[in-house]
C-alpha cells in the first residue's frame, strides 16, 4: 500500500451489529463490525453497563472462533471405540430421532436414568426447567466445580454473594480487600473499577498466594497460604471484636446479632428462641422485654442472656460470637505461621479496616426509608469493600471461609452501603425466597419444582427412607447437604460406579468433563470408557452438545453440534445470573451477527425441539404441538409465572411495560434496536440497605424481582446449619449415617469457623499446588484461537525461589510433581512473588493431542500439563474404610485447591510433559487447520 494513496477515511465495515460477548462469563456488550458478511472487528459497546466500551483480549479475538478448525460441522454418531474420535455424519432428523428414542424410553421407565449436566451454560433457567419437566433430579451446571461455596455462603449469610451478584462500590470505597479473585468473572468491570480506585488513591489489599494480575497493582499483597484465608479473616474478626471496633447500630438493625439463641442441650438447643408465631426474639433495649426481632421499633440488646418463659435460657448471637472469636486460637500470633501472614500485618489490616470504616465514614445526602416506615435523612456508609472468587471457593473449607468474609463485612457494617460491597438486583433476597431442591416424582412426571435449590434443614434433603442419596451426584444428601449448585464433578465417577445407581443416558452440554472440568482427569476418562461384564459401556449412552471438537466430544455416542455465540439468539436473563450494576438493573440478548454456514444448530433450539418431541409438559401446547419454534420464540413468549419471562424489558402487548407484563411479540426487535440490552436505573432512595429498604422492596415487587416484599436480616448465625448439626447430635426424624455424624457436628457450625482442609504442611507432600486462570483464556476455549494461543501455548510450573534452591531446580528445567495419587512432569519457572509453600500454574492450557483443532505436536499437548491429573476426586480413606468426595462437606464444592504435592528434578532429558495422551481422531467434516492465517487480508 502506498502511503500517498492512503485515504484518511478508509471504509471500515458495512454494518455494526451489536450483541453480547460469550468469550468468558463476563457478558460484555460488543459492537461487531461486519464487512462482506464476515467479522471485520469487534469492539466494546460504549453504552453497555457491563463494560462501558472496553473489551478484553478474549472478546477482541472472538472473530477467530468463526475460523476455528475445531468447529463441528454436523451431527455425529460414534463408529469407533469411545475416545477415538471416529464418527459418521448423520442428519439432524436421525440425531434427534436417536436422542428422543433414548430419552423417551427412560422418561417412561425411570427418568432418573438421565443425567443432564451443563457447563458454562448461560441458559440455566431453560436447562434446569427442561430437566424438571423431564422429571430427572440429575441436573446441574458448572457451579459445583467452580464457585458454589461462594454462592451458597453469600445466600445463606447476606442474601447474595460476591462475584456477579454484588460488587465493590467503585466510586466510593476507600479500602478494597481482594481475596483470590479469578479474572474471568466480572473481568472488565473489575478492571475498570481497580483503575478508578487507584486514580482516587483508595487502598487495594490483595490476599492471594500469587502476586500476578490484579494483585500486581495492589498497594499491599498478603501472600496467604492456600486454604488459610478463613483463619486470617477470623483473626481480623477477633481483633475488631477485641477492640470494640464494630458497627453496633448496623449489627442491631440489619443482622441477627441481637437474636436470642436457646442455650443448653436438647432438640431446640442452638435454634433461635421464637414467639408463638415463630418470630425470632430479641431483648428490646428500651423496655428490657422480649420482642419480635422484626417488630418496628425493637432495638435489640447485643449482649444479653435471659430466662425464657418456657424455663429455658437464651443468649444473643453477639454474646456467643464474642465468646467464640475472642479465643486465643484466633490471635494474630497464633494464626501467623499457618496463614503465612505476619501478626503485625494482620493487626495493621484490622486497624486499617476499622479506621477506614469508622473514621472515613461516608454520609450521602440521600434519604431512605426502612420497612418500618422510619425515614433516615442521610445514607451512612462504611467505605470498605470485599471481593472474592474461586481462590476462596475451591477449598474443602470454602463455604465457612466465605461465611467468615461475610461476617467481617457485617461487623464493619459494610454490606450494601455507600462505599461497601453493594448488591445487584435482583439481589439481595433471603434464602427462604429461593426454592428447595426437588426430587424424583415418578415416571412421565415432572419434578414438583426446580432440581436445584437451597435446603433449610434435613427435611429438605434429597435422600430416601434409608438416608441414601436420591441424586446421582449425591448433592443434597448427607455428604453434601447444602449443595446449591449440584456436583458436576461427581457425575461421571458415580455413573460409572453405579453408585448410588447406574444411569442410562448422560447428556453433557458445554462441559469439558473428560478433561479440565474433572478432578483426576485420567479417572474420568477411564470412567467414560469403562465396560461392564457384558462388554457394554458402564455409562451406556453419552450425548455431548458442543460447538467444538473438545476432548469430551470424542467420547460421545451422539454429538449435537452447537453454533458459536456470534451465530445465535440467546438471553442473559434476570432469571439466571444478573448483569447490571448496583444502581442499574439490566438484562441482554445475543443476536446472530453472521450467517450460519454449517449443519449445526443452537443448542437451546435443539433442547426445545427435543422437549416438544418428547411432549414434555410446558414444551407443548394443549394440542400436543410444540410450543416454541426456537429459543428466540421461547425468550419472548415463555412465562415462568403470568407476566414474568426471561426478558424484563419492553413487556406488555405494546412494549410499554417493564418487568411484569404480557409477552410482547416485538420484544426481541426492541432489544436489538436498543443495542441488545435493556437497563433501568434503580430509584435513588432504593439503592442501599436493600434488605430493609422499603422503596427497594416495593420497586422490586413492582418489577417482578420479588413475589412479595421480603425484608430480612443478615444472618451472622445460620440456623439451617444448626439444624443439620442437631440431626448429627441425634435429634429429629431424619438422621445422618453414623460415619458422617462427627463430620457434620464439626463442620456445620452455625458460626463461621476455620478448619484445615488441605492437610498438614509436614509430611511427604509439603507444597500446596494451585492454578490461576490467565486473563486471556477462558477454560479450554482459548486454545483453538490462534491469537489467544500465542499468548499461552504452553504452561510452566511457577516455583518459589527457596524451593528451587532446595530442590536444585533451575529455570526451564523439568521436574516431577507428585501428589498422593499420581505424578506429572512439568517445566519449572522460578518465581519470588508467590507464597513460599505454594507452586502454581495457568489452568486449562494443556490439551489432548489433536483436540481443539490443534496439531499433534502442539505445545499445548507436548509441553503443557493440567494439575487435574494429580488431584484426587476422593479424600483419603477414613478409619472405617469410607472414602468421600474431595469436596466441601457442606456444599459439595470440588476442593481442587486443596492439592498437596512434592517436587523433584526430573533426571531424564526428554523435553516433554507427562502424561501424554493418545491422539484424538478428527470427526468427519473437520480438517487440520491451515498452515498460515492472514485474517482480513482481503480488506487491506
Amino acid at each position: 500500500m502506498n502511503i500517498d494513496c492512503q485515504t484518511k477515511s478508509p471504509h471500515v465495515s458495512d454494518e455494526v451489529r451489536k450483541t453480547t460477548c460469550y468469550m468468558c462469563a463476563c457478558r460484555c456488550g460488543i459492537d461487531v463490525h461486519v464487512r462482506d458478511g464476515r467479522v471485520r472487528y469487534i469492539q466494546g459497546n460504549r453504552d453497555h453497563p457491563v463494560n462501558r466500551g472496553v473489551l478484553c483480549a478474549k472478546g477482541s479475538a472472538g472473530m477467530l472462533h468463526l475460523e476455528s478448525p475445531a468447529r463441528l460441522q454436523s451431527p455425529l454418531m460414534r463408529t469407533g471405540p469411545r475416545g477415538a474420535g471416529e464418527f459418521r455424519e448423520v442428519s439432524w432428523d436421525e440425531a434427534l430421532d436417536t436422542a428422543c428414542a433414548w430419552l423417551g424410553e427412560i422418561r417412561s421407565k425411570d427418568p432418573r436414568k438421565l443425567a443432564f449436566y451443563t457447563g458454562r451454560d448461560q441458559s440455566q433457567s431453560l436447562t434446569a426447567w427442561w430437566a424438571q419437566q423431564f422429571g430427572t433430579p440429575n441436573y446441574a451446571s458448572h457451579g459445583g466445580f467452580c464457585s458454589v461455596n461462594m454462592a451458597a455462603a453469600g445466600i445463606y449469610s447476606i442474601g447474595g454473594s460476591f462475584w456477579e451478584f454484588a460488587q465493590p462500590d467503585w466510586e466510593r470505597t476507600r479500602l478494597l480487600l481482594l481475596f483470590g479473585v479469578a479474572e474471568d468473572h466480572d473481568s472488565n468491570p473489575i478492571k475498570l473499577g481497580l483503575s478508578a480506585l487507584r486514580r482516587r488513591g483508595a487502598r487495594i489489599v490483595s490476599i492471594n498466594p500469587v502476586r500476578t494480575g490484579y494483585s500486581a497493582i495492589a498497594d499491599t499483597w498478603l501472600g496467604v497460604t492456600p486454604g488459610a484465608d478463613g483463619l486470617l479473616v477470623l483473626s481480623l474478626v477477633r481483633e475488631l471484636l477485641r477492640s470494640g471496633r464494630v458497627d453496633s447500630d448496623f449489627l442491631r438493625r440489619h443482622t441477627n446479632a441481637g437474636w436470642l439463641v436457646v442455650d443448653g442441650e436438647g432438640e431446640s438447643a442452638g435454634l433461635f428462641a421464637r414467639d408463638e408465631e415463630g418470630n425470632p426474639l430479641v431483648v428490646d433495649g428500651s423496655s428490657g422485654k422480649l420482642a419480635n426481632a422484626a417488630a418496628p421499633g425493637a432495638v435489640p440488646l447485643l449482649a444479653a442472656s435471659v430466662d425464657m418463659p418456657d424455663g429455658s435460657r437464651a443468649s444473643t448471637v453477639f454474646s456467643r460470637m464474642a465468646a467464640k472469636y475472642l479465643d486465643n486460637r484466633y490471635a494474630p500470633e497464633t494464626v501467623a505461621p499457618r496463614t503465612g501472614v505476619s501478626a503485625s500485618a494482620i493487626r495493621g489490616l484490622a486497624a486499617e479496616l476499622a479506621r477506614t470504616a469508622f473514621d472515613e465514614t461516608i454520609e450521602l445526602p440521600v434519604p431512605w426509608t426502612d420497612v418500618h416506615g422510619n425515614t433516615h435523612p442521610t445514607t451512612v456508609g462504611r467505605p470498605v469493600a470485599i471481593h472474592a472468587m474461586r481462590g476462596i471457593s475451591a477449598h474443602g473449607n470454602g463455604f465457612q471461609t466465605c461465611r467468615s468474609l461475610h461476617l467481617l463485612q457485617m461487623l464493619l457494617g459494610a454490606v450494601d452501603c455507600p462505599g461497601g460491597t453493594r448488591f445487584k438486583a435482583p439481589y439481595p433476597k433471603p434464602v427462604e425466597l429461593h426454592p428447595r431442591p426437588s426430587g424424583f416424582s415418578g415416571c412421565d412426571t415432572p419434578l414438583a419444582g426446580p432440581p436445584l435449590g437451597y435446603p433449610l434443614g434435613p427435611d429438605d434433603l434429597l435422600v430416601d427412607a434409608h438416608g441414601n442419596p436420591q441424586r446421582l451426584d449425591k448433592a443434597y444428601s448427607w455428604e453434601a447437604p447444602m449443595a446449591g449448585h449440584g456436583m458436576l464433578h461427581a457425575a461421571i465417577p458415580n455413573a460409572a460406579a453405579g453408585d448410588p445407581y447406574p444411569v442410562d443416558v448422560m447428556f453433557l452440554y458445554m462441559a469439558n468433563m473428560a478433561w479440565n472440568s474433572s478432578m483426576n482427569t485420567p479417572a474420568a476418562i477411564e470412567a467414560l470408557t469403562a465396560r461392564g461384564e457384558d462388554g457394554a459401556y458402564r455409562i451406556p449412552k453419552l450425548i455431548v452438545a458442543d460447538a467444538f471438537n473438545s476432548e469430551t466430544t470424542s467420547y460421545a455416542d451422539l454429538v449435537l453440534p452447537d453454533t458459536t455465540y456470534l451465530e445465535r439468539h440467546d438471553c442473559i436473563s434476570l432469571l439466571d445470573r444478573p448483569i447490571g450494576e448496583p444502581d442499574l438493573i439490566a438484562d441482554a440478548v445475543r443476536q446472530p451477527v453472521v450467517e450460519l454456514t454449517r449443519n449445526v444448530r443452537p443448542f437451546q433450539d435443539v433442547l426445545i425441539e427435543i422437549g416438544g418431541r418428547l411432549k414434555l409438559p410446558g414444551f407443548v401446547t394443549s394440542g400436543d404441538k410444540p410450543r416454541w419454534r426456537d429459543y428466540a420464540h421461547y425468550m419472548v413468549t415463555r412465562e415462568v409465572v403470568p407476566g414474568i419471562g426471561p426478558l424484563a424489558g419492553w413487556r406488555g402487548r405494546n412494549g410499554d411495560r417493564t418487568g411484569r407484563g404480557e409477552p410482547n411479540p416485538q420484544q426481541l426487535e426492541k432489544y436489538v434496536e436498543a443495542g441488545c440490552f435493556w437497563s433501568q436505573e434503580i430509584p435513588s432512595e432504593a439503592r442501599f440497605f436493600k434488605n430493609l429498604n422499603r422503596d427497594y422492596q416495593e420497586w422490586a415487587v413492582n418489577l417482578g424481582l420479588l413475589p412479595r416484599p421480603a425484608p430480612f436480616q443478615l444472618q451472622i448465625y445460620s440456623e439451617p446449619l444448626r439444624r443439620f448439626q442437631l440431626a448429627a447430635e441425634g435429634f429429629g426424624e431424619r438422621q445422618p449415617p453414623d460415619e458422617l455424624r462427627q463430620r457434620i457436628r464439626e463442620k456445620f457450625d452455625p458460626f463461621p469457623i476455620w478448619y484445615d482442609a488441605a492437610g498438614d504442611a509436614a509430611g511427604d507432600y509439603p507444597l500446596h499446588a494451585i492454578t490461576q486462570r490467565p486473563m486471556a483464556m477462558y477454560h479450554s476455549w482459548g486454545s483453538h484461537n490462534p491469537w489467544l494461543r500465542q499468548l499461552h501455548a504452553d504452561n510452566s510450573l511457577y516455583v518459589p525461589g527457596p524451593v528451587c534452591d532446595a530442590a536444585q531446580l533451575t529455570d526451564g528445567c523439568w521436574a516431577w510433581l507428585e501428589s498422593p495419587i499420581a505424578r506429572i512432569k512439568v517445566r519449572v519457572k522460578r518465581m519470588e512473588a508467590v507464597n513460599g509453600q505454594t507452586v502454581w500454574s495457568w489452568n486449562a492450557v494443556a490439551k489432548r493431542p489433536r483436540a481443539w483443532g490443534l496439531s499433534q505436536g502442539a505445545p499445548e499437548s507436548r509441553k503443557s500439563f493440567l494439575l487435574n491429573h494429580v488431584i484426587s476426586d476422593l479424600l483419603p480413606e477414613q478409619p472405617d474404610g469410607c472414602r468421600w468426595s474431595n469436596s466441601d462437606p457442606i456444599t459439595g464444592q470440588a476442593a481442587w485447591f486443596d492439592l498437596r504435592v512434592s517436587i523433584r528434578r526430573a533426571d531424564d532429558t526428554e523435553e516433554c510433559a507427562y502424561p501424554q495422551f493418545t491422539l484424538q481422531g478428527l470427526p468427519p467434516g473437520l480438517e487440520d487447520g491451515p498452515p498460515e492465517l492472514r485474517y482480513g487480508e482481503e480488506w487491506t
Binding site: 477515511s9 477485641r242 470494640g244 440488646l301 500485618a345 485474517y935
Partner: protein, 249 residues
C-alpha cells in the same frame, strides 16, 4: 537512507500508565484485530494451529518480576509498541525510503510498497518494536491506528487507537504531546512521565507513567485498642461492657 523531518506539526503518541496495567493483553489482541484488516498487509500468523504458532504483532505486553530484596517481590506489566521517536533510528537506517516519520503528526510508518523486508530497521530499533510479517515479508509496526484517528467513517469519539479504546483499566492515553495543554501532556507533567531508555537518544514521543508509591499495611501504627481496655476481653468480661462500649463509637 531516509531522512527525518526537522520538525513535526504535532507529536501524536501514547502515554502508558504502568501503575494500573494488569497485563490482561486486551490492547495486544484488539490492536491485532483492528490492524490485520487495516493499514498494510494482514498481520499474519504462521502455524496458527500448529507446533510453533507465531505471528506479527504491533504491540506486546511483557511481565517482569521485580524483586528489590526489600519488601515483597512483584510483577510489573510492561506494554511495548513503537514509540514514534523524534530521532527514529529505524527511519534513518532504511535503505529504500519505506520507513518514514510524517511531518504532519510525527507518526512513524512503513510504506509497504517500498519495503523489501531487509529488517535493518528492526535491527536499529533499540526497543524491539518492529516485527517482520511472516507471510508478507514486510516490516510491521504500530501506526497509531492511522486509519482510525482521522477516519470520518468512525464516530468522532472512536477516532483513537484501538489499544486505547479497548484498555479495560484505562491505562493507555492518546494525544498530541507537543501541545502542553493536551490531556496527555498534562498527565505527563503531573506524573513525571518518563522516556524509555533515554540513553539511546531516540527521543521517544510515547511516555510511561511509573507505578505510584504503594501503601504498605504492616508499616502502619498498631491499632488503638483503647476501647478494649474498658474490659477484660474474655467471654465472661465482654458481656458486661459490649453494648455500652459499642455505643460510644
Amino acid at each position: 537512507m531516509t531522512s527525518l523531518p526537522d520538525k513535526t506539526d504535532s507529536k501524536l503518541g501514547l502515554v502508558i500508565d504502568l501503575d494500573i496495567c494488569v497485563g490482561c493483553q486486551a490492547c495486544v489482541v484488539n490492536c491485532k484485530a483492528w490492524n490485520t484488516g487495516g493499514y498494510g498487509s494482514a498481520l499474519s500468523d504462521s502455524q496458527p494451529y500448529g507446533d510453533n504458532p507465531e505471528g506479527a504483532w504491533l504491540n506486546r505486553v511483557h511481565g517482569y518480576e521485580v524483586d528489590s530484596g526489600s519488601g515483597a517481590a512483584t510483577i510489573v506489566h510492561f506494554p511495548k509498541s513503537c514509540l514514534h521517536c523524534d530521532d527514529a533510528p529505524c527511519v534513518t537506517v532504511c535503505p529504500t525510503g519505506a520507513s518514514i516519520k510524517r511531518s504532519e503528526d510525527g507518526i512513524v510508518l512503513v510504506d509497504e510498497s517500498k519495503c523489501m523486508g531487509c529488517g535493518l530497521c528492526a535491527w536499529a530499533c533499540p526497543y524491539g518494536a518492529r516485527e517482520m510479517d511472516p507471510s508478507a515479508g514486510v516490516m510491521k509496526k504500530c501506526t497509531l491506528c492511522v486509519d482510525r484517528i482521522y477516519n470520518e467513517n468512525l464516530p468522532a469519539v472512536d477516532r483513537e487507537p484501538a489499544c486505547v479504546r479497548t484498555c479495560p483499566t484505562n491505562a493507555r492515553h492518546f494525544g498530541d504531546l507537543s501541545d502542553p495543554d493536551s490531556s496527555v501532556s498534562k498527565l505527563v507533567a503531573e506524573r513525571d512521565g518518563q522516556d524509555l531508555m533515554p540513553e539511546q537518544s531516540t527521543r521517544p514521543v510515547n511516555k510511561y507513567l511509573m507505578p505510584r508509591e504503594r501503601q504498605g499495611i504492616d508499616q502502619l501504627a498498631e491499632p488503638d485498642f483503647s476501647l478494649a481496655e474498658l474490659a477484660d476481653p474474655t467471654p465472661s468480661g465482654v458481656l458486661a461492657w459490649i453494648d455500652r462500649a459499642l455505643d460510644r463509637l
